[in-house]
């Protein structure tokens, strides 16, 4: 470890590793720190990702792919199923990852690109001079150090403190946090080519239960509920109920817990000498809870903007504004859309969900896109989904056909 770097990246999740790799590839002097002694472990994830989006960042490698997924099956409270499956050749549109290996592979890529990586190294505060972030305080093996940099990247995930230290309030309200529990189970007995989702206020209030295939008859069986719904019945209790009723044969071989911020975008993700990326910037999707791809996309943008800012000699908030604009224009727009959908769906009763599912009984989906599903729902239930009309304004007006058939 040196006393000074061009950039210091705090957190070696997907956001941090991609940021570090992008900046190191362009010749910057990069330090990537991770507080845990093992990158990627324990996981806090159901490990589902879209194939196409992933390939924009890294070549898929069988060492960290557990299952190929070609569709989803969504169950409403009364058991009505909506199936969406891709009909393209080959069929697989998504992967279920082994994130312990995946996260490590990404960190390895950043190391190969020239970044210095340190584990068991925790940022404890920022060095702030005037109103500019100039580095971090860190603890490594019980010793404290100060390390300076032109830019600090906060990629410290859902439990992020880096933003808060810089005066950006990233704390999440209970009604904006999905509280989650998951088991990796053997004897899952599900079709390994499908992801399963169970909706309903009894099984998962303001959330859902998921079953993602992990290969070899294994699956990630998990639940997320809104923090505001948690109390007497917690995520773990509801998950145990579900397993008992629906999967008595399943055997638990790993336990996972975590929180997913579903607040939608926050006001600011940059400061003088500072950028926030991934879950630290609350960039996960409010409806699916997915955040891996957004974290990687944002990491790439952050790395590129950091390189420019350092070359231009302007790492002030103004010099970093391009990052803010870039992500809001892409990831941010999707998050805003999803937030409208989330706010509509959390108010639905079980009857509403059942009637939505029934309205799709004769629709044969040939794509797995959430927007396609929503559009079909909207067309069949305009009154119930009136809040979502803005999302489909152009599509409905121009009668553009989507990838599903009735």
């Amino acid at each position: 470890m040196k006393n000074e770097y061009d950039i210091i990246v705090v957190g070696a999740g997907p956001a941090g590793s991609i940021t570090a790799k992008t900046a190191a590839e362009k010749g910057l002097d990069v330090l990537l720190i991770e507080k845990r002694q093992e990158i990627g472990d324990p996981i806090r994830c159901a490990e589902g990702v879209g194939k196409y989006n992933l390939q924009q960042h890294i070549e898929p490698d069988p060492r960290w792919i557990c299952a190929d997924v070609k569709g989803s099956r969504i169950f409403s409270p009364d058991g009505t199923m909506v199936e969406m499956a891709e009909e393209i050749s080959g069929g697989e549109v998504g992967y279920v990852l082994e994130r312990k290996i995946f996260d490590r592979a990404l960190a390895n890529e950043s190391a190969l690109a020239g970044a210095e990586v340190m584990v068991k190294t925790r940022a404890t505060d920022l060095i702030i001079e005037g109103n500019t972030v100039c580095g971090i305080k860190l603890m490594h093996m019980g010793e404290e150090y100060e390390v300076r940099s032109k830019i600090v990247i906060g990629a410290d995930g859902m439990e992020s403190k880096v933003g808060r230290w810089a005066g950006i309030n990233t704390s999440v309200k209970p009604e904006d946090m999905e509280t989650c529990a998951q088991y990796l189970v053997a004897n899952a007995n599900i079709d390994q080519e499908f992801c399963y989702f169970y909706l309903g206020n009894e099984v998962a209030p303001a959330g859902y239960i998921w079953l993602f295939p992990k290969g070899g008859n294994k699956a990630n069986v998990g639940i997320g509920i809104l923090g505001s719904e948690s109390g007497e019945q917690r995520a773990i209790d509801l998950l145990n109920d579900f397993m008992e009723k629906n999967m008595p044969e399943a055997r638990i071989i790993e336990m996972v817990v975590g929180g997913v911020p579903v607040s939608g975008t926050i006001d600011r993700t940059i400061a003088n000498g500072l950028i926030l990326v991934g879950d630290a910037a609350r960039q996960s999707d409010p409806i699916t809870g997915g955040g891996i791809i957004n974290a990687m996309d944002a990491g790439k943008m952050a790395g590129e903007v950091a390189v420019k800012a350092i070359r231009n000699g302007d790492c002030s908030e103004k010099g970093l504004q391009e990052y803010e604009d870039l992500w809001r224009d892409t990831i941010g727009k999707e998050i805003d859309n999803s937030l409208v959908v989330k706010e509509t769906f959390v108010n639905f009763t079980d009857e509403d969900l059942n009637s939505l599912a029934k309205s799709l009984q004769n629709v044969n989906f040939t794509s797995m896109s959430l927007m396609d599903l929503l559009l079909a729902l909207f067309k069949a239930n305009k009154k119930l989904l009136w809040n979502l009309r803005g999302l489909f304004k152009d599509i409905v007006k121009n009668d553009i056909d989507f990838k599903y058939r009735t």
Binding site: R44, K161, S171, P174, S230, R234, V257
Partner: protein
């Protein structure tokens, strides 16, 4: 006022850290530390997926 984290139950996920309005919590490898900024608001207790936190009043 403070909180008690049952370290035998905690799954060190950090969800409590993300919701704490005062930034009183920190996840260090496999345990949670609480500092004197804690107001005893109970939000962390509500959100914990495992019910590992109790507010000590």
């Amino acid at each position: 006022m403070s909180i008690i984290v049952n370290k035998y139950k905690c799954g060190y996920c950090g969800a409590c850290v993300g919701v704490c309005p005062t930034g009183a919590l920190e996840l260090i490898e496999t345990w949670i530390e609480v500092d004197n900024k804690c107001t005893g608001c109970g939000i962390c207790q509500k959100v914990c997926p495992l019910g590992a936190i109790e507010v000590d009043r």
